[in-house]
């Protein structure tokens, strides 16, 4: 009965229960609530005026810069996790290795900073 996946069971059930509950409640509400849909009601809210065009337009490129920065630094953070768990076993050698790795990312951060990618308005 005890498989290595057993500890994951409560986790999966909590995720499932919360999701199913959040699906079931709106279904009940759909049965209880009134249904009187009108055109004005079904339009997107835009300060009271009729909506102008689709909302799905191109947006500022700075959001992409944030996304790229996130990927670079999040991969770094993921690499740090196995290192942190085996920290004691790796000793000063492991510490030095990771300090070098982290310092390359500090250099990257300094470069990005100097290039102005961290300044929102530029």
């Amino acid at each position: 009965m005890e498989s290595p996946l057993t500890p994951y069971l409560p986790m999966a059930v909590v995720l499932l229960l919360a999701g199913v509950m959040a699906i079931a409640i709106p279904l009940i509400a759909g049965l209880l609530g009134p249904k009187s849909m009108t055109t004005a009601k079904s339009e997107a809210f835009e300060g009271g005026n009729a909506p102008m065009g689709s909302a799905r337009q191109r947006f500022a490129v700075k959001f992409y810069v944030v996304a790229i920065l996130f990927i670079v630094f999040d991969v770094e953070a993921v690499f740090l996790y196995p290192w942190a768990v085996n920290f004691r076993a790796l000793g000063w050698f492991g510490y030095g290795t990771m300090a070098v790795f982290a310092s390359t990312l500090v250099v990257a951060l300094a470069y990005v900073w100097k290039k102005g990618a961290l300044d929102w308005e530029s």
Binding site: M1, E2, T6, P7, Y8, L9, P10, M11, V13, V14, L15, L17, A18, G19, M21, A22, I25, P26, I28, A29, G30, L32, G33, K35, S36, M37, K41, S42, E43, A44, F45, E46, P51, S54, A55, F59, F63, V66, A67, F70, F73, D74, A77, L80, Y81, A84, V85, F87, G91, Y95, M98, A99, A102, V106, V112, W113, L118, D119, W120, E121
Partner: protein, 324 residues
């Protein structure tokens, strides 16, 4: 664990979700009371003694309202976002040790799982804002994703400090370690406190709370990603936000404040006290501070918090080797 892991797992999960949902309902009452007092008002008073039945009245009202799906919205994604946000908000609770034995999944990657779910909270918000086909919602959603992924990095690095010190990714083990060696907020002197403050700050940003609630800046963006959500769907979003705050408070208590460890009182009492103190602090901050500007928010994260987090990590590493 009990005899049958399936039954005990199911029972545990059902109890946990029920308790959390009940707690979230009355936390909304509590927050409204605190908000009222801080603004020289009374808050809810009419429904039941001290307005204690207000959450029930709110839930019943929301259930009877018409759920509107806007005509230009993507109907499937629009309905899919609330359940997803609820599942992700409550899912973290499964790995948090509330007492030494009341612990759903003692995963050996508990910290990673909790942080992954927290990071994934950007998805339902983005789905909601995209599906709504509303300009305010989309602007709010973009800000939310940018903020969420930026603050995730200092958060992940701050959570690494307890991992380095205790040498385990299991939340159960981290609390046991603190039970024996002292809470991480107290040692290493300064480093633990710094990591705790950093984690708490980034958790505020991840949970989209003031002073970091730029995505739903109501004075400019109506309600941000949830602008088009009405009735019970909106309530699920609001409940998930409270749930996320509570569970992040519990996670911060587990990682830095020793979780259930403490003298005299039973473990569960300590866990509840620590989580409540953190949650009250979040509420207190919400009704005291102003909102930051979007560029200030990004600058704070990348220019100060990320280097600070890396520095904390390096110092914590030295400390671990020097004083094993």
């Amino acid at each position: 664990m009990m005899e049958n892991p399936w039954i005990s797992g199911l029972v545990y999960s059902a109890v946990l979700v029920t308790v959390l949902m009940t707690a979230i309902a009355w936390i909304s009452w509590f927050e409204r009371k605190v908000a009222g007092r801080m603004q020289s008002r009374l808050g809810p008073t009419l429904v039941g003694p001290f307005g204690l039945f207000q959450p029930l009245a709110d839930a019943l009202k929301a259930l009877q309202k018409e759920g509107i799906v806007p005509k230009d919205a993507d109907p499937f994604l629009y309905r899919f976002a609330p359940p997803l946000t609820m599942a992700l908000a409550l899912g973290t609770a499964a790995v948090i040790p509330f007492t030494p034995h009341f612990l759903g999944s003692d995963l050996d990657i508990g910290v990673l799982y909790a942080l992954a779910l927290s990071g994934m909270m950007a998805f339902p918000i983005w789905i909601a804002s995209w599906a709504s086909n509303n300009k305010y919602a989309l602007i709010g959603g973009m800000r939310m994703v940018a903020q969420g992924i930026s603050y995730e990095i200092p958060m992940v690095l701050a959570a690494l400090v307890p991992v380095v010190l205790s040498g385990s990714l299991s939340l159960g083990d981290i609390v046991e370690y603190q039970h024996v060696n002292g809470w991480f907020v107290l040692w290493p002197p300064g480093v633990g406190l710094g990591a705790f403050m950093l984690f708490f700050t980034t958790a505020l940003a991840e949970g989209n709370r003031i002073p970091f609630d730029i995505p739903e800046a109501e004075s400019e963006l109506v309600a941000g990603p949830t602008t088009e959500y009405t009735a019970i769907n909106w309530t699920i979003f609001a409940a998930s936000e409270y749930g996320h705050s509570v569970i992040t408070s519990a996670l911060a208590s587990t990682l830095f404040l020793g979780g259930w460890s403490g003298p005299w009182l039973p473990p569960l009492a300590w866990m509840v006290i620590k989580t409540s103190v953190l949650f009250v602090t979040i509420t207190w901050i919400r009704w005291s501070l102003l909102r930051l500007r979007s560029d200030q928010l990004m600058a704070l994260c990348w220019k100060y918090l990320v280097p600070f987090a890396l520095m904390l990590l390096l110092v914590a590493g030295i400390w671990t080797h020097v004083r094993p």
